[in-house]
């Protein structure tokens, strides 16, 4: 892989304040020129191609594979099957920690879901391997497949999401409902969805003796490395993973899944480098998805429209062999100030690949149901949906009673509503038409996402030539980490961004945790912040302790790093350059490490969330039922905005995903076989350009002194929440038809005319 040569920053940047500047992606030129090396672009000498043969049944056993036929095919080198494969150091069925998921790496003939890998064909060409996989002509003993939200007996899982309690209570929900003046009781359904990152899961694995070189997109370099180490029984320092660019991940590349492990096994089996890339339809199974849900919301309000109770129950599914539960009902924890709240979950097991985190897991599914229900409740109370939300504004986090570390949601409502022109909305549905006679509807939703922090480390260096380096094993999924984190690094080192060598995307750099939970900029940023502060402190020590320095005696706290110089805080005319300090001290460079981590004390004291308000306009053909979103405004408060340009892109992407959730996305599962019938991007609909209206994003100023040192909350996922509900509510407002099954289909709007 060539060294990264990132394009430089625009010249007008004010030195020492990279943060807050709308830099375009520094890796943008590389990408448009096709020079950014994604995992599958690597071709080490002697490389072979591996292709997975995937199960076409959802439940049963493979009874035969025609290995001989596959091997006879010209170009086929090896066929890896449960009977013929390298041994793993541990049983892949063992969960060594909660972030480890069971994976299918040919440990048995058992089939647990459709598209499960059942063999791997390794060949000189991709075409030969592909045909070899067909020639295996698997035969099965097929057992009935468990499909759908009613597939079997339901049970209450021990936890949902990542260790969240299955149930939460505040006050007496039943009493609150009984006392209510107005009530709703409604059931909403959301379908299974697949991440569908543009870049399929891919790996190039290369064993060199006992060393293992891996190119693979991952949202968690160290988590992946640890999993590879335990699966193959090798020391961490024998493994090197490169993941400089991801073509999207959305959660599906967060944890090591079976397919990349199969690539490593294949390389071991043939003793040559191997590339394994999933076909699009093979991404509908072994690499996670968003589970379907059925959610019941019961809400009560008093005569004034004040909530008396909020009861949110979510049914979801997990696989027959592992546990991940979409924490959909948890969406009701933070937004609305009901005196009585209950959230609960149950689940059934189905023949599916294990569901996983998918962009805003729980928040997205829960949000569309909650925001629809709140809209229904506002209508039931005869109130404007925004007025209803303001009436039930949570001043403290409802269930915990904690104050918010910051919450500029009121400003989001105000600014979003003003920009959208919400005040002109008719209360009644089906009142507005455009010139062409199309029905027009306006809807809104509240957005929220927790401000999370994980653990990360960084290493900072200042060199005698006046340049600096920041090293952190961070991940750029396309969101712009190469740019935003480098901006933070530049400020922390007191250097122009062009003078900072920023290194990321490789497992031999300090552990940056995971790019997930919308926490990567905050977590990696905090590590960069602390490493930067530490290296500046070392440099300051050199200067302030040296009589020959103009900074002598200034003390560590008395200097500021700016423009490659340290200057006295009390007298900015006195200072000297990094070069002068290091040259005089006779050292080539100073280096320091830093850590970013959550602050337990602050978490104990405060509820930490980003917020937003999304307003949508849809048009619906009154006779034909086709829907189109024509306008969207989102106002979001997410703490400090490191790069407004990248942040807007994240929020745009989230809002489009929300639109997609309401109107388009759905994995269609055959109710008998459990196979997904639209496992391709032609038929699994996501919005195309013509579906996406002009989007307007407002980032609302918010200063948060508690979340982390930099005040960053994260913007990766929040855009979906609120948006999906806003679109759904706009469809109701346009038509008067309340659709509670998503995505909203044309036939559901044909009932009226």
């Amino acid at each position: 892989m060539p060294e990264l040569n990132l394009t430089s920053a625009p010249a007008h940047l004010r030195h020492g304040s990279s943060i807050g500047q709308p830099l375009t992606r520094r890796d943008g030129v590389l990408k448009v020129k096709g020079q950014a090396t994604y995992a599958a672009d690597n071709h080490p000498p002697g490389m072979l191609f591996a292709v997975i043969a995937a199960s076409s049944i959802a439940h049963g056993r493979v009874t035969s594979l025609d290995v001989a036929a596959a091997k006879r095919h010209p170009g086929v080198v090896e066929v890896m099957t449960p009977d013929h494969k390298p041994q793993l150091a541990i049983d892949p069925e063992i969960k060594t920690n909660p972030f480890v998921f069971r994976m299918e790496v040919l440990q048995s003939n058992e089939v647990r879901y459709a598209n499960q890998p059942i063999a791997v064909v390794i060949a000189e060409t991709l075409e030969a391997a592909t045909e070899g996989a067909v020639l295996l002509a698997p035969r099965y003993e097929t057992l009935p497949a468990l499909v759908g939200l009613d597939a079997g007996k339901s049970y209450v899982p021990p936890v949902v999401g990542v260790g969240n309690p299955t149930e939460n209570h505040l006050g007496d929900v039943d009493a609150g409902l009984a006392a209510a003046d107005k009530k709703i009781d409604a059931i909403y359904e959301t379908p299974a969805q697949y991440h569908n990152a543009m870049e399929p899961h891919a790996i190039v694995a290369h064993w060199d003796g006992d060393r293992l070189q891996i190119d693979m997109p991952t949202q968690g370099l160290m988590l992946s490395l640890a999993r590879v180490a335990e699966l193959f029984g090798i020391a961490h320092d024998k493994i090197h993973i490169r993941s400089p660019f991801l073509g999207g991940g959305f959660g599906s590349k967060g944890l090591m899944a079976g397919p990349p492990a199969l690539g490593i096994m294949a390389a071991k089996l043939v003793g040559r480098p191997v590339k394994l890339v999933l076909r699009r339809e093979q991404m509908y199974g072994p690499v996670g998805h968003r589970a379907p849900t059925r959610q019941r919301l019961r809400i009560g309000a008093d005569v004034e429209g004040r909530l008396t109770a909020l009861d949110h129950h979510a049914r979801t599914v997990s696989s027959t062999f592992d546990d991940f539960y979409e924490p959909a009902a948890d969406a009701s924890h933070t937004l609305y100030a009901a005196p009585a709240i209950r959230t609960s979950h149950d689940a059934v097991r189905v023949n599916t690949g294990t569901p996983l985190f998918m962009r805003a897991p729980g928040e997205a599914t829960g949000s569309i149901a909650l925001e629809s229900a709140i809209d229904e409740m506002a209508w039931t109370c005869g109130m404007d949906p925004l007025a209803f939300r303001l009436k039930n504004y949570a001043e403290v986090e409802p269930i915990t009673g904690k104050p918010f570390s910051s919450k500029a949601l009121r400003a989001c409502y105000d600014q979003g509503a003003a920009r959208f022109g919400w005040a002109k909305r008719s209360l009644q549905p089906r009142q507005m038409r455009d010139d062409a006679g199309l029905l027009v509807g306006w809807g809104m939703g509240t957005a929220t996402f927790p401000a999370l922090m994980f653990q990360a480390q960084a290493r900072a260096v200042i060199r005698r030539d006046g340049s600096g380096a920041m090293e952190i094993g961070a991940h750029d999924m396309g969101q712009g980490a190469w740019t935003a984190l480098a901006q933070i690094a530049a400020d922390e080192l007191g250097l122009d961004i062009e003078r900072v060598e920023f290194k990321a995307g490789s497992s031999d750099l300090p552990d940056a945790g995971i790019a997930g939970g919308s926490a990567h900029t905050a977590t990696a940023g905090a590590a960069i912040h602390s490493a930067g502060a530490a290296v500046i402190a070392k440099l300051a020590d050199l200067a302030t302790g040296d009589e020959r320095s103009p900074l002598f005696g200034a003390g560590n706290t008395g200097v500021i790093a700016r423009d490659g110089r340290l200057i006295r805080r009390d007298d900015e005319s006195r200072g000297e350059s990094y070069t002068e300090i290091l040259a005089r001290a006779g050292v080539a460079e100073v280096e320091a490490r830093g850590t970013g981590a959550p602050n337990p004390a602050a978490m104990e004291e405060y509820a930490m969330h980003a917020h937003g308000a999304v307003f949508a306009e849809v048009k619906v053909d009154p006779e034909l039922g086709q829907i189109r979103v024509t306008r969207m405004v989102g106002a979001f408060a997410a703490g400090r905005i490191v790069n407004p340009h990248l942040v807007k892109s994240q929020l745009f992407g989230g809002m489009i995903w929300g639109l997609s959730f309401a109107l388009h996305e759905e994995a269609i599962t055959d109710r008998r076989s459990g196979r997904i019938m639209n496992a391709n991007l032609g038929e699994y609909h996501i919005p195309v350009n013509a579906d996406v209206p002009p989007l307007d994003v407002i980032t609302v100023e918010e200063h948060d002194p508690h979340v982390n040192a930099l005040g960053i909350k994260g913007v990766g996922e929040i855009g979906i929440t609120g948006s999906a509900g806003a679109v759904a509510n706009a469809v109701w407002h346009a038509t008067g038809v309340r659709v509670r099954r998503f995505p909203i289909r044309i036939e559901e709007l044909l009932t009226q005319r």
Binding site: S56, I57, P74, E127, T130, E131, V134, D434, D435, A436, L438, K619, D621, E623, L624, G625, Q626, R628, T630, L663, H664, I668, T669, D670, R671, R672, S673, R675, M677, N678, E683, H685, P687, V688, N689, A690, D691, P694, R745, I746, E747, L750, R753
Partner: protein
């Protein structure tokens, strides 16, 4: 991928000889065929690439006033031919409502006519499908079939033909010119595709080796230019197949409909010409009542083949709308969102 022989004939005669062998298939732009091969749905032994044959990429006005479109003319090239779009606006609109810009740039006239159904069970080789494998059964019948046929289907197959292009063509009495082992012949487009009956695997009347060389629009087709529209309801604004579509073309003389043409897409295994509806419109004023009546006639024989009863009501409404739009007159320019119910929405910039 299965290994196959690739031949590139120099002449039509060579092409026919090469393609008449069992296991041989013509390759045009491959936007449908190559997908099917990658998915292992089609496993030809030999591809006969016709894209290098001379003389099949012309659009010619013939002496009798008809228009001859070579089988290799690109879908986009045809739609963007200004003279063509003016004379046959509904056809151009249908072309531009299909697939995506990239696909339209590649796809050919002949390939579009002979594209295969999008039935998911046809694509899923683990499913039973009479069309893919004669006599194996039809998993769509009790499966996920909300987009399947409501007209002309049989118990052996409920798939639809997905082409948009074919719908206005069949309404305008297009003729298909075929070269085969027995020489040249021509048939009405309406007769090219077969309804499934008991042999859904036989999709067209073409014999092995038959090559479509051109599609012809008769002189009379131009007579509808002032009142011709295509309307397509789909699950996103662009880049989706029709749930139901309709082409409506009227010749209006002295406030009365002198002649009407109507065809439906997405409802049957072929582009569905609705002659009974055309008949009731002949000689009457273009009124909402007349269009309602036509819609009832057009769908008189429709019946659901699964979870798709809504398509019948939707088709009626689409017929009424398409006729209404046609009566209102062909717009001076093809809308930015061709064939979309949102065609008239201002600010539309993408298709």
């Amino acid at each position: 991928m299965k290994q196959f022989e690739y031949v590139r004939p120099a002449t039509v005669a060579e092409a026919i000889a090469a393609a008449a062998q069992p296991g041989a298939t013509y390759l045009a732009a491959g936007t449908n065929l190559l997908d099917l091969m990658k998915g292992n749905v089609s496993r030809p032994d030999r591809l006969v690439d016709v894209t290098h044959l001379d003389g099949l990429d012309q659009i010619e006005r013939l002496a009798d006033g008809s228009l001859r479109i070579g089988a290799l003319v690109g879908n986009a090239d045809l739609a963007h031919d200004a003279e063509f779009a003016k004379a046959y606006p509904a056809v151009a609109e249908a072309l531009l409502a299909g697939a995506s810009a990239q696909l339209r740039n590649a796809a050919t006239v002949g390939g579009n006519l002979l594209q295969r159904t999008r039935c998911a069970y046809f694509y899923d080789t683990a499913s039973r499908c009479n069309k893919r494998e004669a006599g194996s059964g039809c998993d769509a019948r009790d499966g996920e079939n909300r987009t399947h046929a409501v007209l002309g289907w049989s118990d052996s197959c409920i798939a639809t033909h997905p082409s948009d292009f074919c719908v206005p063509l069949v309404a305008l009495d297009a003729v298909v010119e075929i070269e085969g082992r027995g020489g040249r012949r021509e048939i009405a487009l309406d007769e090219l595709h077969r309804l499934p009956g008991n042999t859904p695997e036989r999709e067209s009347v073409l014999a092995p080796g038959d090559l479509i060389v051109a599609v012809r629009l008769p002189a009379a087709a131009r007579g509808f230019a002032a009142h011709a529209r295509y309307l397509k309801v789909r699950e996103r604004t662009s880049y989706a197949f029709a749930i139901v579509s309709a082409a409506a073309a009227l010749r209006i003389e002295n406030g009365k409909i002198a002649e009407a043409r109507l065809a439906l897409g997405g409802v049957a295994a072929k582009p569905w010409r609705a002659r009974a509806a055309e008949d009731v419109l002949k000689g009457v004023a273009p009124t909402a009542d007349a269009f309602q009546e036509a819609a009832w006639r057009a769908l008189a024989d429709a019946k659901p083949s699964g979870d798709n009863a809504y398509k019948i009501e939707l088709a009626r409404r689409i017929v009424v709308r398409a006729l209404t739009l046609a009566a209102a007159g062909t717009p001076a320019r093809i809308p930015a969102l061709p064939a979309s119910p949102f065609a008239s929405t201002s600010g539309a910039i993408h298709a």
